[in-house]
Amino acid sequence: MTGPSPPVLSTSGLVAGYERDLPIVRGVDLTVRPGELVVILGPNGAGKSTLVKSVAGLVPVFAGRISLDGSDITAIPAQRRIRHGLAFVPQTENIFATLSIRDNLLLAADILPKDSRKSRLDSIYGMFPDLAERPGRRAGALSGGQRQMLAIARALLVEPSLLILDEPSAGLSPKIVAEVFARLAAINASGVTIVLVEQNVRAALSIADRGVILVEGMLRHSGDAKALGADPLIAELYLGAPRPGGASVA
């Protein structure tokens, strides 16, 4: 008999933030299994972005442990985590606007073995044909949706074991948001494990396997995404939905 597959990501007792005396993430235990799409939800200021940034190595960790595919990566600098299979797409400024589309992708390809770079690039252009049309185009000239696709494409180029996205729908029109989420669902269906921080709760839960709710830097709830979306108390307390026929919790 085989047990459950080992987690792609696990954090234990994670304390992180910008000042040691005032941590934003306060003792988070999070486990993400292979192939899962986990969405991190919570009210503004809950520490969702700080949590994923600390996993990506961009925010100091004061206590606890971060493991990726069973290896402790807590002390590994951000630029080496991608070599361990962790790709992170920040919320804003997630592309190099002054570089071409090709150069944005090649930056990620540079960490791959030389003999696999071209095939990976071709594969990414196949997945994102819009980017292949004019690879020499300056990335700063792309629309919001195209920029997000470029950022996701660059992250996927290294075939990460874990893809983390911080609010990929921020600043996008509803139509483009739907495209981005459909693309993320397809990427997850192809076997890529995804952790998503998102304010667009309904859309995120519609593609997620599991949702976790963060409040004041602590994990308050974790459960099946569909059940989470349907739970009126959870929706009211943590997701900003009004109580039917009553006042909302402040």
Binding site: Q79, I82, E93, L106
Partner: protein, 303 residues
């Protein structure tokens, strides 16, 4: 107008352009104005002088002038040695001073003030080691060759101009055609994101120091070959270097060179039409005009 002004301006401007290239690279990637860059120019010249003298004393044949030039093979060999040594010096300064400040996330003004301190220290060290008396790579006299149109230039001047252009093209190709250049441009735009995509930011910073110091060394040797070598030579060049870096657009390689030539030509024109005493003011006027009228520079983007 005396057409010779154009040649004098171009030759001086090419050295300013090379120096400005180092300034613009460190400014765009390390995010501070390094006022010690002029000292790397002076140190480069003195290191080449010392290496050339050592080579000449061991192999006297290398000191004899080659062809139409005023110097022997010792100088080009010494130049390469000095580029390496100047790079080591720059890395040492970064290791001792700027690196720890970066780790403490010090503000830009702290880094700038630290660079002032580094400049004073490096210049004082030069005076202590080599004295403040001017030195020369060669005291051989050269006859300027007529180039047509009333313009004359010495072989040393033409060589210096050619070498400067070759280095600019090489740096441009490095930035636009190589993985390191791509990484440098990425760090220049967004250092945090560059780290996220796997760029080794520390390596990029080391390469920037090596490149900046190497270019400063070439500029110092060129300036020393055409005029003289003094511990103050870097300080004297500082304002024209910053004027060229800002006029060209921070981060732009062709911009730094073109703006260096503009500054050099403007200085030469000022000497002819206004008076030599106004030469130093030209770079200041260009710097202020660029900041007021086009702060992004000739080749920079307004965003």
């Amino acid at each position: 107008m005396n057409p010779q002004v154009a040649m004098d301006g171009l030759v001086a401007g090419s050295m300013i352009g090379l120096g400005a290239l180092g300034i613009t690279l460190t400014y765009s990637i390390l995010r501070f104005a390094n006022f010690a860059h002029g000292e790397f120019i002076a140190w480069g010249a003195y290191l080449a002088l010392a290496a050339g003298a050592a080579l000449g004393s061991v192999f006297p044949g290398l000191a004899a002038p080659v062809g139409p030039f005023s110097f022997g093979w010792a100088l080009p060999v010494a130049l390469f040695a000095a580029i390496g040594l100047n790079g080591v010096l720059a890395l040492g300064v970064d290791r001792l001073l700027f690196g720890p400040l970066r780790q403490r996330r010090s503000s830009v003004i702290v880094l700038v003030m630290a660079s002032f301190g580094a400049a004073l220290t490096l210049r004082s060290l030069l005076e202590f080691i080599f004295t403040s008396r001017p030195a020369y790579f060669s005291k051989a006299l050269q006859i300027a060759l007529p180039l047509g149109g009333g313009i004359r230039a010495t072989p040393d001047q033409l060589l210096t101009l050619g070498v400067a252009l070759v280095f600019v093209v090489c740096v441009h190709l490095l930035l636009t055609r190589t993985a390191m250049g791509r990484s440098m441009r990425a760090v220049s735009e967004n250092v945090a994101l560059a780290g996220c995509v796997g760029v080794e930011v520390g390596s990029v910073i080391r390469v920037v120091w090596l490149l900046g110091a190497g270019l400063a060394c070439v500029a110092g040797v060129g300036a020393g070959l055409l005029v003289q070598i003094r511990p103050q030579m870097g300080l004297d060049l500082l304002l024209p270097l910053f004027a060229a870096a800002i006029l060209g657009g921070i981060g732009s390689v062709p911009g730094a060179m073109v703006a260096g030539l503009v500054v050099g030509l403007s200085e030469a024109l000022a000497v002819q039409f206004v008076g030599a005493e106004w030469r130093a003011a030209v770079a200041f006027v260009i710097l202020v005009a660029a900041l007021l009228l086009r702060p992004q520079g000739l080749f920079g983007r307004a965003d």
